[in-house]
């Protein structure tokens, strides 16, 4: 009986958010179309975590050089800075959206055409790599 209780406690502990692995999915990735000559683009998406603490460490795409950036606004001035990593808390959805955290692609190889799809790979600390497809919308698309 005692052993059973200890085992149950152990099982319960392993279900806690500290030690359970993150269970991450990526959805609704999109970007605005770009015109010839424009060398950068932003990709927006949602990351849902149904498990323990997760962390997005890197992003990559064959369309250019991808990295995590955050736009901030102070006194009407827009600033954009690189992020080294992005925490994805347990049981939460983190949105990468216009005017906030986003994937920035610089050195675009070719313009992004509205209606096309481009691949994006996200590398998480424990959950490993996830691949998603980014839907390219018209540049004038509302968010």
């Amino acid at each position: 009986m005692r052993q059973g209780a200890a085992l149950a406690a152990l099982l319960l502990a392993s279900c806690g958010s500290q030690s359970s692995p993150p269970s991450i999915s990526v959805h609704d990735a999109w970007a605005r179309a770009t015109v010839a000559g424009q060398n950068s683009a932003a990709i927006y998406l949602s990351i849902t975590n149904k498990g323990g603490e997760g962390r997005l460490m890197a992003v990559s795409s064959p369309i250019g050089s991808a990295s995590l950036h955050r736009t901030s606004m102070s006194g009407g001035v827009m600033r954009m800075r690189k992020l080294d990593e992005l925490p994805i808390p347990p049981n939460a959805t983190v949105e990468l959206k216009p005017g906030a955290t986003h994937v920035m692609v610089s050195g675009l190889q070719a313009p992004l055409a509205a209606g096309s799809r481009v691949p994006l790979t996200l590398a998480f600390a424990k959950a490993g790599k996830l691949q998603t497809e980014v839907a390219v919308r018209a540049a004038g698309a509302a968010m």
Binding site: G37, G76, A142, M143
Partner: protein, 198 residues
Amino acid sequence: MRQIRIIAWVFVAVALVGVGFVLLKGPQPAPPVKTTVMSANFGGPFTLVGADGKPFESSQLDGKPYALFFGFTHCPDTCPTTLARLVKLRREAGGDGAFKIVFVTVDPERDGPKEVGAYAKAFGAPIIGLTGSPEQIEAVKKQFGIFSRKVPIEGGDYTVDHTATVLLFGRDGKFVATLAPDEQDEVALDKIERLTSA
């Protein structure tokens, strides 16, 4: 009876403190206008370069309200988001002809007439794209209180921190209001209503 006297004295004391306060502070100044860009020499005529490579005079904007936004074509997030939002708000406020949208680059080194022209066309609605010599752009930035600064990024490239506030001008060329990127659409539409009816 005693209680009433005490209460009465308390009233007198409060009144005296109030009078003293007003006397000390003197006449109250008018409440400050809620904008950072209003000044006597704000805005004014300018000459830039249009997408056709020809000079663009600000007088070409006369007779119609316009929204002025400074940005750069390699800006991945804020600039396309702001322009797409302006196009959307303009449609909600009465259609593509309700007011003009003017995009001025703060990165004339990379954005020539061809670049601003192609960029302005990408939003599926009329947008006037303007550039100019670095000196012309500096002068216009100063006129409209716009800040911008190049920031190096990896790979030898750079991005530009810049004022992302949209400036609204009435058909008489007078400043009406600003639009902030993070304000509610309802608030923005209220200002646009003032813009188009001014």
